[in-house]
């Protein structure tokens, strides 16, 4: 019988520097292979003994056979430690936690629109790659991705070299907040860009980013005629146990770790605004 609070050991086999404050960590079981199977949008608890444990969304697609990746922004105590790590470091990992995006049910066969801001691409990254791997299951796919500057765009190499391949039939719309030398793409905030691009309101939308961006993206989508039951997001709150028992990550009677982190906006509307 497995004990849910006891993690397994993992080893960080590769660390990629994505932006000045985001690194992507590749985690494998000791001896190689994935620590566990997961679905797109799920999370895992990573920890360094003596520092702490925290929940991170899994960035890599379930279709990647031999490892999992986590894109992590340096913002607190544990993440600062993670950023100091070198490859070969062992960490502890437990999961997967939470409900995934409904990629094989509600989203199947639909046109998809992904909207991400900053490190908010991390959880969607997993979904996008999953959709690309099972491309035939989905209609048109668009990605709107923005960040503060061109240096803060996550996995830009992958976006340009893999996602944008013509055979993927995937449109990526990049934007940065302020004009910058060496950037000839779009400049402006994500919500405004979404309005400018003017999407067809029969798509399903998956959105993740800072709360303020989400708020305005919702307004923009509303303006385009989208309904709340077409829009999904993934939330983050303080978590300790990951199994709906420690009592901190609830929004109303739902626990983000167990009933989330993926919520549809019509579900969120029925819950208190405490996130």
């Amino acid at each position: 019988m497995t004990n849910n609070l006891i993690p397994t050991l993992g080893v960080v086999t590769d660390i990629r520097v994505d932006t000045p404050d985001i690194k992507t960590f590749r985690v494998e079981k000791i001896g190689g292979g994935k620590c566990f199977e997961h679905e797109p949008g799920q999370c895992a608890m990573l920890s360094i003994p003596g520092v702490g444990e925290a929940m991170f969304s899994i960035t890599s697609s379930p279709t990647v056979a031999d490892h999992q990746e986590f894109s992590i922004k340096k913002c607190g105590c544990l993440t600062s430690w993670l950023h100091l790590m070198e490859p070969g470091q062992q960490i502890t990992i437990r999961g997967p936690y939470g409900k995934p995006f409904p990629v094989d049910t509600e989203l199947k066969g639909k046109d998809l629109l992904f909207i991400a801001g900053g490190v908010g691409l991390a959880p969607l990254h997993s979904v996008i790659n999953y959709c690309l791997a099972k491309r035939e299951n989905y209609g048109k796919i668009d990605v709107v991705y923005g960040s503060r500057s061109k240096d803060d765009l996550l996995t830009i190499d992958e976006i340009q070299n893999e996602w944008m391949k013509p055979e993927n039939d995937l449109d990526v719309h990049l934007t940065i907040d302020r004009a910058q030398e060496g950037w000839d793409g779009h400049v402006g905030f994500v919500p405004n860009y979404v309005t400018e691009l003017g999407f067809d309101p029969n798509k399903c939308v998956l959105v993740c980013g800072p709360p303020i961006m989400i708020k305005f993206v919702l307004q923009a989508l509303d303006g385009l005629g989208f309904q709340k039951d077409q829009i999904y997001t993934t939330l983050e709150l303080r978590m300790k146990c990951g199994i709906g028992k420690c009592g901190r990550c609830n929004i109303g009677d739902k626990y983000v770790c167990k009933d989330g982190p993926v919520f549809r906006f019509d579900q969120l509307d029925e819950l208190p605004n405490e996130y």
Binding site: N3, N4, L9, P49, Q89, I243, G247, D253, E274
Partner: protein, 337 residues
């Protein structure tokens, strides 16, 4: 039904303690709590409520989860041992006995908590009827009968005798050697308890409207502002509560390894939901509301209408500024339904 003279209880305790651990309400430095029994301890079955509830026995305030040893880049991990031996908790009141069932609904549902599950499987509960309920008691609102407290065996104090009725085999085995008794005096005692229970000041609270259906209505009630005004944000109510189960997991660096332990946490604390970047409940009003919403709305919404309160009244008696769940129920309950 068996009986034993109160004077002879020490011998019964000694006999139980010779084969397994025994927890009972014991007085230390003037206060009574559940501690492990030994011959030098002073058992206080006459005290109605221990300061902390009996949940400590199954869900201790601090418990180790695992130990790490870090060397260079590698980590060695050892899981803390789980409870493997039977033990007895003696003198649990009806409210606390019910609280274990509520905790089960949190810790034993999938994915279950193995540390708690192990203790639950090994614990034998001997309950004790409440001879003299206090003004703060309101357990009857939640369908708890202080005269029939349940558990593996129940006990009643009548005069100088303790009567015990086993409900399970494990309960019966504990008291097999005691002399048989006639139940009639216990029946009289039960009637007396029930009569007092009906006269309790908080005996008839109106709980209509506290359910998942009215979640947003209760959440948005303007009364929270006034109710939470005096809240100090201390954790007294949560730590004396038999059903509060929130916990924290922390690491302690001992200098030669790392111990990961779990300890009680309180939703009243400002850092309860604090993350690196933000805090989802940043005012005391939100935290105060969370505690009562959880007990009266969120929990029943997820657990077939069962409230996460057993009416033990500890928070009523212990809150430094006399805020409590009864006040909340009265302020928000009943109306509109």
């Amino acid at each position: 039904m068996k009986k034993i003279s109160l004077n002879a209880l020490g011998a019964l305790f000694a006999k139980i303690a010779s084969t397994m651990k025994l927890y009972a309400p014991i007085e230390k430095a003037g206060q009574v709590d559940f501690y492990e029994w030994n011959e030098s301890e002073k058992v206080r079955l006459d005290v109605l409520k221990t300061v902390k509830s009996a949940k400590d026995v199954f869900f201790p305030q601090v418990e180790d989860l695992l130990k790490f040893r870090v060397e260079g880049k590698s980590i060695e991990m050892n899981e803390a041992p789980k409870c493997e031996d039977d033990f007895v908790v003696f003198g649990v009141r009806g409210c606390d006995a019910r609280s274990f069932e509520l905790l089960d609904r949190v810790f034993l549902v999938d994915p279950r908590d193995e540390f708690y599950a192990a203790r639950r499987a090994h614990g034998i509960i001997v309950t004790l009827a409440c001879g003299a309920p206090e003004e703060s008691c309101f357990c009857t609102n939640f369908g708890i009968d202080p005269a029939n407290p349940g558990g593996d065996a129940s006990a009643w104090i009548v005069g100088e005798e303790l009567y015990i009725e086993p409900h399970t085999e494990r309960g019966a085995a504990l008291i097999a050697d005691l002399e048989d008794a006639d139940a009639s005096s216990v029946e009289a005692a039960k009637k007396e308890i029930s009569a007092i229970a009906e006269r309790l000041p908080f005996a008839n609270l109106d709980l209509t409207g506290f359910d998942g259906e009215h979640l947003m209505e209760k959440f948005d009630d303007p009364a929270w502002e006034r109710l939470s005004k005096a809240c100090l944000g201390c954790g007294t109510c949560t730590f004396v509560c038999p059903t509060c189960q929130c916990y924290d997991i922390r690491d302690f660096d001992t200098g030669h390894g790392v111990t990961r332990y779990r300890c009680w946490d309180s939703c009243m604390y400002s850092d309860f939901t604090l993350m690196a970047a933000e805090n989802s409940r940043h005012t005391q009003l939100q935290r105060f509301r969370q505690r009562f919403m959880h007990k009266l709305v969120y929990f029943p919404s997820n657990n077939d209408g069962l409230y996460s309160c057993v009416g033990c009244g500890r928070c009523v008696a212990k809150c430094p500024q006399n805020l409590n769940i009864v006040k909340v129920i009265k302020a928000l309950g009943g109306k509109k339904a």
